[in-house]
Each structure stands twice: as structure tokens, then as C-alpha cells.
Symmetry: C2
Subunit: 191 residues, 2 copies
DNA sequence: GTCTATAGTGCGATAGAC
DNA sequence: GTCTATCGCACTATAGAC
């Protein structure tokens, strides 16, 4: 057989390992490709750029977020809808995944270019969530504010979830953070 | 005189022009440097990478945000503090600047790499705001949530401010968006 | 200020799956 | 035959090293 199946997955797995061991900048795309028996050119067939090898596959996460919005019963407020969406996305972060997520996040945090890519992905997620809310009839700027708030809560909850010694489930943490957000804005009177 | 002063500013101005006219990817760093009588090497002495030429100088914006937080009277809620901070940052966006901001934003929106850099800058701003809030005694996760909410409101307000036909001041728009955020979270009951 | 490694592109060739 | 994955090669621009 000329090529083993699952080239993309093998590249992703090996890349994370190499980045974690030697650093992102110190790892060349040719090296990643070679490590799984492929050439650099093939690497770039699968990933538009070097960073993307760490992010490819997040469409699934986006899908889960959107399903959460679409499944939410009518009559909920926009913030309640996105809270349901984050809860639905929690399925993506079972406890078995904590260790993998920690490794990946460590790599990302050590490189500004990777942080930029991550923020961009989160921004894109926020945008499609906003669209989905508008499709439900939520008007602007409420739709964008709710979507961005969801991403904020998600980010804070995720950071907590992978922090040293944390044992609660992602879903539990996210619910707590949502309550914090509501109480935060609820106490503001002079606006 | 061996070199004209203001090299950095001239590079920034000319770069924006070239990007707007010919596109970001189609403009090389050598071209930008040549356009103001400098060499590519000098370009990279002023800016750590090509994208940075559009973002250098935003420390001032950060400074204004932080001053707004520090100047806020004790006793305000965290969200009220960051609202004051955004109002103080509004000084950065007088009506005369709308046209420049529109051009710049058009360039950024046409290039994913530039969007990434912008999001990263906003993320950095959010982080220092969070720090400043914690220095005031705001605890986690409230500090991070308030800072992120401020960035969200800022972003929504900015987009509205540069939109076609908008005439209100940045400060007025931002105040409205803040009220929208509060009413959004205020109506959520099932959390 | 010069030199160089690496990222990333464009185009064409080849090999296998169907 | 078509379609898709892979490879080879030449090339430019960025960015960092010297």
C-alpha cells in the first residue's frame, strides 16, 4: 500500500508530542512529516499552515455548541440559550480528556502565535453562535453579546477545568461561572 | 541629517496605504521600507513582524483603559469600574478618527492573520485589565469576567461606531451597549 | 548590513482506490 | 477511465542569526 490511512491524525498526534518535547519553534514541519513517514509537502496538503495541526478538528466542537443552541427550548432568554449550549459542549471535555487538554494548552501558552490562532478559533465560534441566535430571532446587539459572553464563560471554565488539582466536571464549573457572570452584572446599578 | 525623524510613523502610515490599495499579502516588507526610503532591515528593527506595523502604538490605548480603572471611585461594582474604563478609552476615538479607523479595520477584516493579531492584542488588554481589577481587590473569577465583558462591549461598540451612517459618539454607543449587556443577563432566571 | 533557515505556494508527476 | 493522496522541485517572503 502506498499510504497508510489516517495520515492527518498521525500528523496531529506526532506534532503535539514533538511540540511538547522540543517546543513549537524548534520543531520543523519537515520533521513532523518525517516522523510519520510523509513529506513536508504532504503536511501542507492537510494543514494550511504549521499552527493548524493543533487546531484542525475543532469543527466538531463548533457543531456541539450549535446543536446546543438549536436544541434549546423556545422561551429561554438569549443568555439561557448559550448557557445550555456550553453545557452541551461539556460533552467534549470528559475527565479522561483533562490530561490531553493540559498538554495541548501548555504548548499553546508557550507560543504567542498559537495563542493568536486559538483566539481566532474562539472568535469564529462566537460568530457562528451569534448567527444561530439571530436565526432564532434574537436581535442585535443581544445576539453578539450573548455569544461573546458564552465564549468568555467557556474560556474561564476551561482554564479552571485544567488547573492543577481541579476535580469538578467541566459542566459543573461552567454552570458556576455562568452564575458568577449573572451576579456580576446584576449588582451594577449606575449604568 | 543622516535620517529623517519619525521613521516608525512614516512606515506605519505608508504600510496602511499600501495594504489598503494592494492588499496585505501583496505588499512586501521591502516594498513598505522602500516607499519611505528605508531598507527592509530597518523595517524589522521597528516592528517585530510584518503585521505589527498596523498595531504598534496601542500601548496608549491600554494605558487609557488602565487609567480609567484606577480613577474609578471605590465602591463601584467590578462591571461599573470597567464601564468607566471604556468611557475613558472613548477619548481615543474622537469623530475625526472614524475615517482612519474604518480604513484600518477594512484592511484587518480582509486578512485572517491580521484578525488573529487584533484578537491577541484585545486578549492582552483584557489580561492587564483583569490584573488591575485584582489589584483593587476584585476576586476571581469576577475580575476576569468583568475584564472580558469590557472587551466584548468595546468590540461591539467599536464595530457600531465605524459602521456606515453611524453618527453617535463612541462614548454614547458604548454606554448603550453596556446597558444592553446588563439587561441581557438580568432577564436570565433559570441559571 | 549580509546571509540563511524555514514557512508556505504553484505546478506537475505518480501511485493507488474505485 | 476518474478521483484523491502523495511526492518532487523550484520558488518567494519572512524573520532571525551572524
Amino acid at each position: 500500500m502506498r499510504w497508510e490511512p489516517g495520515a492527518r491524525e498521525r500528523l496531529q498526534e506526532s506534532a503535539l508530542e514533538l511540540f511538547a518535547r522540543n517546543g513549537f519553534d524548534q520543531t520543523t514541519t519537515a520533521e513532523i512529516a518525517r516522523s510519520v513517514g510523509l513529506t513536508e509537502r504532504t503536511f501542507f496538503r492537510h494543514f494550511s499552515d504549521k499552527r493548524e495541526v493543533l487546531f484542525y478538528g475543532q469543527q466538531e466542537l463548533v457543531r456541539v455548541f450549535l446543536e446546543g443552541i438549536e436544541a434549546a427550548p423556545a422561551g429561554l432568554t438569549p443568555l439561557e440559550v448559550v448557557a445550555a449550549s456550553v453545557q452541551s459542549a461539556a460533552a467534549f471535555f470528559p475527565d479522561e480528556r483533562r490530561s490531553f487538554s493540559r498538554t495541548r494548552q501548555t504548548v499553546i501558552e508557550q507560543n504567542p502565535a498559537l495563542q493568536e490562532r486559538e483566539l481566532h478559533k474562539m472568535g469564529a465560534l462566537s460568530e457562528v453562535m451569534g448567527q444561530s441566535l439571530r436565526a432564532r430571532g434574537v436581535t442585535e446587539p443581544a445576539a453578539t453579546l450573548a455569544a461573546e459572553s458564552a465564549i468568555t464563560v467557556f474560556g474561564v471554565a476551561f482554564a479552571q477545568w485544567i488547573s492543577e488539582g481541579e476535580l469538578r466536571s467541566f459542566a459543573d464549573i461552567a454552570a458556576d461561572v455562568f452564575r458568577e457572570l449573572v451576579s456580576l452584572t446584576g449588582t451594577a446599578t449606575s449604568l
